[in-house]
């Protein structure tokens, strides 16, 4: 008689614990800072977090989820700051969100070393933006057509539809006169930077693109390409002479205050921007 009561009580108590568990909302600490959003900005934010926590007495937590989650969690107050690897859309946030550009990222074009492009200064081959658009729209199919080894087929490697890197790359190609429409056949879309590197390394005549902060020293068969004679250096990205770049954005709800403001100011300070640079991104000032 008693033991069944115990068992049922135990079951009921467990059930009762579970209900409040689902509903508990612990109030946010004033020295807590939560950041959520784009996985592209994430590595940078992790570095910034490491430095900022040395500098200020704050407990930060950074989660991913993507730009969409970044916007919605900032809107409903779950996160203090949202990370975006794209611009804030017009109808997004209902005018409540304030965007802050904290860093820039550029996309670098890489080719397999045997494509026979003539080396320009510093031993680096070059393609114009128009040629790139031609390659990715299917106008040029042979390296001979863009000044490389004639008879070598161009193996086009792209990131998957929906990738931020791809959006950034294609946005730049769209600025060429005559516009740009990506070709859909005979493109090898891969869904990670690692796969781009491997494919370009292993495929004769391959061309691909990666983010600026990716190191290629482990891939001896790959070489970077300058675009319109301009190398993707921090300076060139910062003053917009190198065109294939995008802004990394943090959003806050309304005018930022307290710890959020402190953090934002810190990122744009010399200390913060130095961290941006050392993580492989480009500083904004």
């Amino acid at each position: 008689m008693k033991s069944w009561m115990k068992v049922s009580a135990a079951i009921l108590i467990t059930a009762m614990i579970c209900v409040p568990l689902t509903a508990t909302v612990i109030g946010t600490d004033s020295h807590k800072l939560s950041v959520a959003g784009s996985t592209t900005v994430y590595p940078l934010m992790a570095e910034l977090q490491k430095e900022f926590e040395k500098f200020a007495n704050v407990d930060m937590n950074v989660s991913g989820g993507g730009s969409g989650v970044g916007v919605s969690s900032t809107l409903n107050g779950v996160a203090d700051i949202g990370m975006l690897s794209r611009d804030l859309k017009e109808d997004e946030g209902g005018g409540q969100l304030v965007p802050h550009v904290i860093a820039k990222d550029a996309v670098v074009v890489i080719v397999n070393k045997n494509v026979g492009l003539p080396n320009k200064e510093a031993g680096i081959p070059d393609l114009t933006l128009e040629q790139l658009a031609g390659i990715y729209s299917g106008k040029y199919n042979d390296w001979g057509e863009v000044g490389g080894k004639a008879g070598q087929k161009i193996a086009v490697i792209a990131r998957e539809e929906g990738s931020g890197t791809r959006d950034c790359f294609e946005a730049a190609l769209k600025t060429v006169s005559g516009g740009f429409v990506a070709k859909e056949r005979d493109v090898n879309s891969v869904n990670s930077t690692g796969a781009v590197l491997l494919s370009v390394q292993n495929t004769p005549g391959a061309i691909g693109y990666i983010n600026l902060n990716v190191e290629i020293f482990a891939y001896p068969g790959i070489t970077k390409v300058t675009v319109d004679g301009i190398t993707a250096t921090s300076e060139n990205v910062q003053d917009k002479t190198y065109e294939i770049s995008r802004d990394l954005i943090l959003v806050t709800k309304g005018k930022e205050t307290g710890m959020v403001k402190f953090f934002m100011d810190w990122i744009l300070s010399e200390d913060g921007q130095r961290t941006v640079e050392s993580s492989g991104f480009v500083r904004v000032n």
């Binding site: 689902t22 992790a46 969409g68 919605s72 969690s73 056949r185 690692g194």
Partner: protein, 727 residues
């Protein structure tokens, strides 16, 4: 006095029973609420796409391009169907061969080794399959077919990985079906002078055919709902292969689209709701498949429900062709009509897509109609003495028709595959020769004699079995041998550094444990109570049936859909944010059906006599349940619980939008903080951090050890309790 006491007590007990019953019922009905919530949230979020794009435009559009605002689901639906079809083409021969070998050929001792080996397949987390595919299979395919593949990510790679993942389902379900074929069938066949192979082929397999069909359908369901592994190896290009059978092209499934695009979609935008509409379509497809499987399984069960003393010839499911043909004609006609109409209206591709849809739906209808017709027939037959079956001309013709259809299909298949490699002429010759060989093999085989044929057949079964075991061994060996060097105390106890290139995985291990514990606390009480209610208290009322349907629905829901639900309902709507608690609830909903089912099944397996004895001693129903039935069913319940935890620990898709942090620098025990988790960490390392190979293998190994350890515990528990209790 004493008598009075007794009556009072009894009245009291009676009341307890009623109270308990309704309490349990209330908990059990929570499952309905959960499934309702999921459906409501997905529906509500997809309404925007229906308004902005239009349902017809959505399912007929052939371009999926978010950057241009074009949302046509056809390439994704086609991608899903193709990759699943390929997976089944690989899994069916391997799985069926293995099942036949285990059930019919292998001696008992070998069977006892092989069965658990095949079960390991089911225990490996899908992200580990994806990882193996990405680092081993994809480069391998790239080297084998350098002219066709740039990097190896392709439909072919996706189908191979999915095929391996569907293997355990196909093997275990069809093996069960074959084991269920009564001994008397085999004995009768052997007594007629048939060899073992002939018995297997002509008696056992046909008798178990509905079970095998169910196994195939369940395997399809498993493959369609898979997210993370497919996403890692198919290349994710939302294009329809050109030509349609080009297995070297990249494609993208519905599930991969959800997982890839959901994170960056702006909440409330057309893109966002288009993704939810996709999820709805996915749920619909899976629902359909599972429903067909359920009906088929029911039929298979009833067939051998009462096997004692039934004559072999009468029960053999020859299913008179005369009855079947009009139905088959009906299906073929409706498919043909749809094909022609849509070929006129749209194009050839749409025609193929639509007619395969119509085929699915009409096949489903047929099964249901057939089901009820059979039921009624069975009822009538109880009254009337059985009649001799009628042989018509059609029934004699049918085998030949089937044979020619097989030949045509074979020709088409060989032609399609060969056309990928050779020019038109050579392709034609190859396909023609292969059909000739097929045709010639039958008379040659007949000449060889039954014993040699048996040897050949058994030899190839052994070969199939060896292939399956080899796949497992290669996979495990690769991960263990390359993962071991990474394992060290530092690796286990340090935080990741440099985006995971160095350092350890400590927070991911802790996070996984936190997720599992949280899931356990939510899912166990709900699941066990619902299971007890269904097994002991429910009657076959409409309410119970609804609960069961809800559980089935929940069970069939692909894990990525749970992820979407968790994201919209918990992360965004309730404003929990990416948090441990959101992940736990999502995972708990996912494992709930497994717990309910295993609890119910193991309680039902407790013999009636035990309950009757307890009730006869004056115990109330609740007392009997808690003191007699549950202890007796304990082993089964525990097994189910541990299995579900193993599944929760290895899943990626449900936590990637709800709980997972890419990196964390401290261990947090707050329910509202995100946590790192091993599967997600492995996914990020494998796709986003090139050059971290050792760390990837190390993470994969730790995850594998963790999950397989749980599965090992589960089978130990099952073993121990089944030995302890005997009736």
């Amino acid at each position: 006095m004493k008598n009075e006491d007794n009556t009072i007590k009894r009245v009291k007990k009676f009341n307890h029973d009623i109270v308990m019953k309704y309490l349990l019922m209330a908990v059990a009905s929570a499952t309905i609420l959960i499934i309702l919530f999921i459906i409501i949230f997905i529906f509500a979020n997809s309404s925007g796409a229906i308004r902005d794009i239009g349902i017809i435009e959505f399912i007929t559009g052939t371009v999926w391009k978010n950057s241009e605002g074009m949302y046509g689901a056809v390439p994704l639906i086609v991608g899903t169907l193709l990759v699943t079809f390929g997976a089944i083409m690989i899994a069916l021969p391997l799985g069926l061969g293995t099942a036949v070998f285990i059930s019919e050929v292998a001696p008992k001792r070998l069977r006892n080794i092989l069965k658990p080996i095949c079960e390991i397949f089911a225990g490996i987390p899908s992200v580990v399959y994806g990882f193996f595919g990405l680092v081993v299979l994809v480069p391998l395919l790239g080297t084998i077919f350098p002219d066709h593949l740039l990097s190896g990510t392709s439909w072919l790679a996706g189908s191979i990985i999915l095929g391996i993942m569907a293997l355990p389902t196909i093997i275990s379900v069809s093996e069960d079906a074959m084991r269920a074929v009564p001994r008397s069938y085999r004995e009768a066949s052997m007594a007629m002078g048939a060899t073992r192979w002939e018995t297997t082929r002509r008696v056992v397999v046909p008798a178990a055919i509905s079970g095998i069909a169910a196994a195939t359908i369940l395997g399809i369901g498993r493959a369609i709902g898979e997210t993370i592994a497919v996403m890692m190896v198919t290349g994710n290009s939302p294009m329809i292969p050109e030509p349609l059978w080009n297995i070297f092209e990249m494609l993208r499934t519905i599930t991969a689209t959800l997982a890839l695009e959901m994170p960056d979609a702006a909440s409330g935008s057309t893109h966002y709701s288009a993704l939810f509409l996709l999820a709805l379509i996915l749920m619909f497809i899976v629902l359909l498949i599972n429903y067909v499987a359920k009906v088929v399984i029911k039929r298979a069960r009833r067939k051998f429900g009462d096997t004692s003393g039934t004559s072999f010839t009468k029960k053999l499911p020859k299913l008179t062709y005369a009855v079947r043909i009009p139905k088959a004609l009906w299906v073929i006609a409706s498919v043909a009509i749809t094909f022609t109409i849509s070929a006129f209206l749209f194009n050839l591709l749409m025609a193929v897509v639509y007619s395969s849809f119509v085929f699915l739906i009409s096949a489903l209808l047929i099964t249901v109609v057939f089901e009820t017709a059979e039921k009624e027939k069975a009822k009538k037959e109880e009254k009337r003495p059985p009649r001799a079956k009628q042989h018509t001309i059609l029934s004699k013709l049918m085998p030949n028709v089937m044979r020619s259809i097989t030949l045509i299909a074979m020709f088409a298949f060989v032609w399609m595959m060969a056309s990928l490699f050779f020019d038109r002429q050579t392709t034609g010759i190859i396909a023609f020769v292969s059909v000739i060989v097929m045709l010639a093999s039958a008379p040659v085989g007949k000449k060889l004699g039954a014993t040699i044929r048996e040897k050949v057949a058994h030899g190839s079964l052994v070969l199939v079995m060896l292939i399956v075991v080899a796949i497992l061994v290669v996979m495990l060996f690769d991960i263990v041998s390359k993962g071991l060097p990474a394992l060290s105390l530092d690796f286990l106890l340090k935080y990741p550094e440099d985006r995971g290139m160095s350092g350890g995985i400590f927070p991911a291990i802790v996070g996984t444990i936190q997720l599992v514990v949280g899931t356990m606390m939510i899912a166990f009480p709900l699941g066990i109570i619902s299971g007890i209610y269904l097994a002991e208290y429910s009657k076959n009322t409409r309410f119970t049936r609804i609960i069961r349907e809800a559980i089935d629905l929940l069970n069939g829901t692909p894990s990525v859909v749970f992820g979407l639900f968790g994201m919209t309902a918990l992360v965004i709507f309730l404003g929990v944010g990416i948090a441990l608690i959101a992940g736990c609830i999502t995972l708990a909903f996912m494992v709930l059906p497994v717990i309910i089912r295993t609890t119910e099944e193991s309680i039902l397996a407790v013999p009636k006599e035990l309950r009757e004895a307890s009730l006869a001693l004056g115990a109330s129903k609740w007392e009997t349940t808690i003191k007699v039935v549950i202890p007796a069913a304990f082993g089964g319940v525990i097994t189910g619980l541990i299995l579900s935890l193993g599944r929760a620990a290895g899943e990626t898709a449900p936590i990637m939008f709800t709980a997972a942090a890419i990196y964390s620098s401290s261990i947090s025990f707050s329910l509202l903080d995100p946590v790192m988790a091993l599967p997600y960490h492995l996914y990020i390392l494998a796709t986003e951090v090139p050059g971290s190979t050792t760390m990837q293998y190390g993470t994969a190994l730790v995850l594998l050890i963790m999950v397989l350890f749980m599965f090992g515990m589960a089978s130990l528990a099952r073993h121990r309790y089944s030995k302890n209790i005997k009736w």
